[in-house]
């Protein structure tokens, strides 16, 4: 009998490889933020983990958010993953639910390891995290955190909240 187990001979993911989490919510991820996160991941030879955070209203069960939210998340995540793959990066996308974006984030990093978190701040009408959420992330994140604020007047569009020199 021919034994065909086509995944057995390939490791699932690079064992122990660095993982950079890029959480986003609200139906969009600013391309400037994605571009910057991609460059950071390349510099660090890391896997990019774009994670769409779905806010589930209280009237729904946490694990079953409204279908229209899921319908927004899936193609968006596909597009983000596509852009990162085109840049030649390994990608490992996620979707997580929570009562708030920070709750979803907490649920995600409770079960998975991340070496760095790159979070978008709001700018120019984009749907980044609010200042309060960013503050929460900075206080509670289990790993180094970079806050990116897209700004068309800045060539790099990158602001760092922690470990400034690691991205230089």
């Amino acid at each position: 009998m021919t034994v065909l187990n086509f995944w057995r001979h390939k490791p699932a993911v690079p064992a122990g490889g660095r993982r950079i989490l890029v959480p986003f919510t609200g139906g969009e991820l600013d391309p400037v933020v994605l571009d910057a996160a991609t460059r950071i991941a390349k510099l660090e030879d890391a896997t990019l983990v774009p994670a769409y955070l779905i806010v589930t209203p209280l009237k729904y069960r946490l694990e079953t958010p409204p279908q229209h939210e899921v319908a927004v998340a899936m193609p968006l995540l596909e597009a983000v993953e596509h852009a990162a793959l085109r840049a030649g990066l390994p990608v490992d996308a996620r979707v997580e639910t929570g009562r708030t974006p920070t709750h979803a984030l907490q649920r995600l990093w409770d079960v998975e390891r991340f070496d760095r978190i790159v979070a978008p701040a709001p700018a120019g009408g984009s749907h980044g995290f609010t200042p309060k959420e960013l503050q929460w992330i900075l206080v509670h994140a289990p790993s180094e955190t970079v806050i990116l604020r897209p700004d068309p007047t800045l060539a790099e569009g990158v602001r760092l909240a922690r470990s400034l020199d690691e991205v230089a």
Partner: protein, 362 residues
């Protein structure tokens, strides 16, 4: 033969479910059918009590609860009386502890099983799956609930509707509760916004019920079998499987198909820590997307898929681009060609990394 079950659903007390049930009872009586009232909860509403006149009432069962005498539906008496149609109010009611069944909807099942038709009533806030939603909307935790299957299994679910404004007007007029109680109710459960939200819930629930009944009936079983799709997504503990599940889900939206995700666990090998993390993430995504997550032990993927597809009635396989070496393909045979050969009657879609296509053609 089991009796015909018709349930009148409303958004709240006072919309007129009991009244409608009695009207339908009278209509059936006029048509020459043998009708009885199995249980009526008139809530001391004169209009309701008046409408009950002329309909035979099966005596209630009197039970004791401490010093208190309670009256319940007597299913045995209804069955012994053997009418064609029994009217039974408030199916979500919890019986006293001395009764054979804990819930009135169970008593109704006995009556239906005896071949007697039943018309019953219920408010949407008692539906089990909406319990949390009702609590969030109204701040009231409803203790008397009934399982969703009761609505699913009923032959007919009929909405008794009234606008929130009309219902509040009925309350003010003392048609639902005595005036002093109505004032309190208007400020609490019967607030305009509560009623609007409850009405939306009940309209949606009944609309979904209508949709669910319409679809299966629109196709004969044989043709349904021929056109229905069921997706089987083959996953592995790797990041690309997230994409396979997402693509399968998007296709399922267009096809109206159920999805199963299958992970073939290689015989005798536990997942590594990395694989366990990937599997947990895949399970979370599957749960979010309503995908059934399956695991099967095996060493031969195609044979395992063949068995699972037969069991689940799969019609459409989603598989990632195989990571096979050229050497393996030549000596072992390509996985895909083997799937095509050994899985006749199944469509197969290879989920590719589209970024690679652009890289190749640039």
């Amino acid at each position: 033969m089991r009796g015909h079950y018709r349930i009148l659903v409303g958004m709240a007390p006072g919309v007129g479910k009991t009244y409608r049930m009695l009207q339908e009872g009278h209509q059936a009586l006029e048509e020459g059918r043998d009708v009885v009232i199995g249980y009526l909860e008139s809530h001391d509403r004169p209009e309701t009590a008046a409408l009950a006149e002329g309909l035979e009432v099966v005596p209630r069962l009197r039970t004791a609860h401490g010093q208190l005498e309670l009256q319940e539906l007597d299913p045995a008496a209804v069955i012994a009386r053997a009418p064609e149609l029994a009217l039974v109010d408030e199916l979500a009611h919890t019986n006293s502890s001395t009764m054979h069944h804990a819930k009135r909807y169970e008593d109704i099942e006995d009556i239906l099983d005896a071949g007697i038709d039943v018309i019953s009533t219920v408010n949407i806030q008692h539906l089990e799956s909406l319990n949390d939603a009702i609590f969030e909307l109204t701040g009231v935790r409803v203790r008397e609930t009934f399982p969703d299957r009761i609505l699913d299994e009923a032959d007919e679910v009929v909405l008794v509707d009234l606008s929130p404004e009309e219902l509040r007007e009925r309350l003010r007029a003392g048609k639902v509760y005595p005036r002093e109680r109505a004032e309190v109710a208007l400020e609490n459960f019967f607030r305009q916004e509560n009623l609007a939200a409850l009405r939306e819930l009940v309209l949606r629930e009944v609309a979904e019920d209508v949709e669910a009944r319409r679809n299966p009936a629109s196709l004969e079983p044989l043709s349904r079998q021929a056109v229905a799709e069921r997706i089987l997504a083959l996953i592995e503990p790797q990041p690309k499987s997230q994409r396979i599940l997402r693509r399968a889900w998007r296709s399922s939206q267009r096809l109206g198909a159920e999805i199963d995700a299958l992970w073939m666990r290689p015989d005798g090998r536990e997942p590594t820590e990395e694989e366990a993390t990937q599997l947990a993430a895949l399970r979370r995504l599957a749960s979010l997307l309503g995908i059934h997550f399956l695991e099967a032990d095996g060493d031969d993927l195609v044979e395992t898929v063949r068995q699972v597809a037969a069991e689940r009635g799969s019609t459409y396989i989603f598989v990632g681009t195989p990571d096979e070496s050229r050497r393996r393909e030549i000596f072992g045979g390509s996985l895909l060609s083997r799937m095509v050969r050994q899985l006749p009657g199944l469509d197969i879609r290879v989920v590719a990394d589209r970024a690679q296509r652009e890289t190749e053609t640039r």
